[in-house]
Amino acid sequence: MRKNEVRQDIIDTAARLFYWQGYHNTGINQIIEESGIAKSSLYQNFRSKEDLLLVYLQVSGAQTDEALKAAADKYKKPREKVLGVFDYIEELVQRKDYFGCNFLNIVSEMPRNAKRVRKQIKKQKGGVRELFVQILKPIHKEQLADEIYMLFEGALIAQKVHDDVWPVIVARNIVKKIL
């Protein structure tokens, strides 16, 4: 296997395990075993499990950014763009392979002092806030971006607790009222 492929294999395996069983439940040995590589190969590519976690957050972060942007870009008007994002998450949370927001999953597991990881997640979520700011700027409603972002988070977290789509629908309703 080429070096890049090995690295990618490790990332894919870690991503799957971190997402489905959580970070703390996933041991380095399981990642090695399931990606079928030698322990030394893992450490050639990543210094630690936390390093691997950060790469996972960056990779899935870029995918999420792209998906959210694509959902907004389907529409022309700012209001429709925002609702488009909520339509996207409504569809997303009902997929069979969905098990909560990757970033909220991880942040919820992290103790307060996990600085590097928390910083990366904050950066990711900061990007979502900024997406709403950019959408709303042309109609001078960017001051609503934080409220909409809060609804976005509320929908994702409550969906996980209640294991149901209703929080997303409820959040979308509020967006319609305040925007």
């Binding site: 919820s108 597991e109 979520k125 972002y149 609804l151 988070e153 996980k160 607790v161 929080p167 959040a171």
Partner: protein, 179 residues
């Protein structure tokens, strides 16, 4: 020490440790050590760490809800009461008492957790939804109880992600518009 006090001591110590460092990271031995009791004493009161966790969720959940109710009982209007809930949270955040909802952390930390734990957490959250419904009934706005609940969850998780107070302000702004 009286029996009740011992039980309370064990619960308080576990609560503090679960909250600070997570459920998985907290061992029975650490609880025993910090509570200054013998292992056999702990097992007189609780069958297992899981049992301890279930009682923790139940009792702390009720305490949180009662504190919330006390914080809003002096407000005269339903709107004042709803805003009061968020002001109560704001106080908690400012006193740095808050690092996310401890129950949510549990949902994420133990993805393969016994269904019983998840069910208990959902039950706590449903009590809060019910409380909001009761508050809003006199003004015939119980249909937006879930909207406000979604804002509440969003505010708590966004506070954790961003380590800042602005999510509460954003949530309060939305509520003022909804009510």
């Amino acid at each position: 020490m009286k029996k009740r006090e011992i039980r309370r001591d064990i619960l308080n110590t576990s609560a503090r440790l679960f909250y600070k460092q997570g459920y998985r990271n907290t061992g029975i031995n650490e609880i025993i050590e910090e509570a200054g009791i013998a292992k056999t004493t702990l097992y007189e009161y609780f069958r297992s760490k899981e049992d301890l966790m279930l009682v923790y969720i139940e009792e702390y959940g009720m305490e949180t809800i009662q504190a919330m109710i006390r914080a809003i009982e002096n407000a005269d209007t339903p709107k004042g009461k709803m805003i009061g809930v968020f002001e109560y949270l704001e106080d908690q955040f400012r006193q740095n008492q808050c690092y996310g909802c401890s129950f949510l952390s549990m949902v994420y930390e133990i993805p393969d957790e016994p269904a019983e734990i998840k069910r208990k957490i959902k039950f706590q959250k449903d009590i809060i939804r019910g409380l909001f419904t009761e508050i809003l009934r006199p003004i015939n706005k119980e249909n937006i109880a879930d909207e406000i609940y979604t804002l509440l969850e969003g505010a708590i998780i966004a506070n954790k992600v961003h380590d800042d107070i602005w999510p509460i302000s954003a949530a309060k702004n939305s509520i003022k518009k909804l009510l």
